[in-house]
Symmetry: C2
Subunit: 198 residues, 2 copies
Amino acid sequence: MAVADPIARLVKELARLPGIGEKTAQRLAFHILKAGAGYAGDLAAAIAGVVRDVRLCSTCQTLTDQDPCAICRDPERDPRTLCVVEGVPDLLAVERTHEFRGRYHVLHGALSPLDGVGPSDLKIRELLVRLEREPADEIVVATNPDVEGEATALYLTKLLKPMGLKVTRIAQGVPMGGDLEYADQVTLARALAGRREL
Amino acid sequence: MAVADPIARLVKELARLPGIGEKTAQRLAFHILKAGAGYAGDLAAAIAGVVRDVRLCSTCQTLTDQDPCAICRDPERDPRTLCVVEGVPDLLAVERTHEFRGRYHVLHGALSPLDGVGPSDLKIRELLVRLEREPADEIVVATNPDVEGEATALYLTKLLKPMGLKVTRIAQGVPMGGDLEYADQVTLARALAGRREL
């Protein structure tokens, strides 16, 4: 005897989420059952709502329920400085700093030949179309500091610099609150190479 | 600017699940969006289905979509040996041993005066009604080996023994594959007290 079919079905669906194993999925399923119809209804409606109402902003390609998105509509945000990020969570991370007053462009991935991700799989064509319509002065490339992110940054630089755009890359170095002793050598080498006069 | 409203709503609902923090909830929400309408539909339907179709077995109080449940219906299962567990995950854990051929009774909790959980909050009355209708020979108390589980086991013993029932408790001792050196002293003391002749 296993668990009742509807529970088994929910466990199966939950276990397809990233980082959720069979055991956690079972715990979540029993919690949903215990919490009752009110919570289950809210959760199911929120899941249905997110795929029904969220689409890509036609300008910056972020996920939004209004097109253009809140940032692209905001007249206070400088349209001549674009921060290019791999994904929406990265955009949110930059927003949390409250230091960037420009706008964004979300690539929805990074170049990764091994995984078969080429330039045409990213929102690069949309970036070029956008730059033609709304010229910018500076492109801040804020892709991840890993192999794919670096490759994407290099690709964008080669593509955008000849168009007369200033292309910048976020600084790489030792993280704040970190400890030099425990910094890996690549990070420390980057920090040294990127040293600035005080 | 925050994330789009439907995403924020889904993140909020997901973060109400046990062990799911704000950050994990956000990751799950973006995964659901990325996986598309097919998966989101399946997940929402599974959630709605579980609260719609699952109820308590009127005999053993387990969660089931058919009443009586598969175990209570199974003529191969000994109706005169009842294993009393705190919750359905505990029932599933006992089932996974393939060692128990009797039936179950799910209490849906354990006595915990500090949390305001008394005997009337557990399915104890249902157990007594059931025993009147379907007499049993042995009650195996498989509540958790913690304060609440022990208190519940003691309460059940005092209640059921005078009715002429044999009440047993699952053995407590060092877990298989464990190491005596790392066993806590309460467990080791229980293992000593419960020693058996070879």
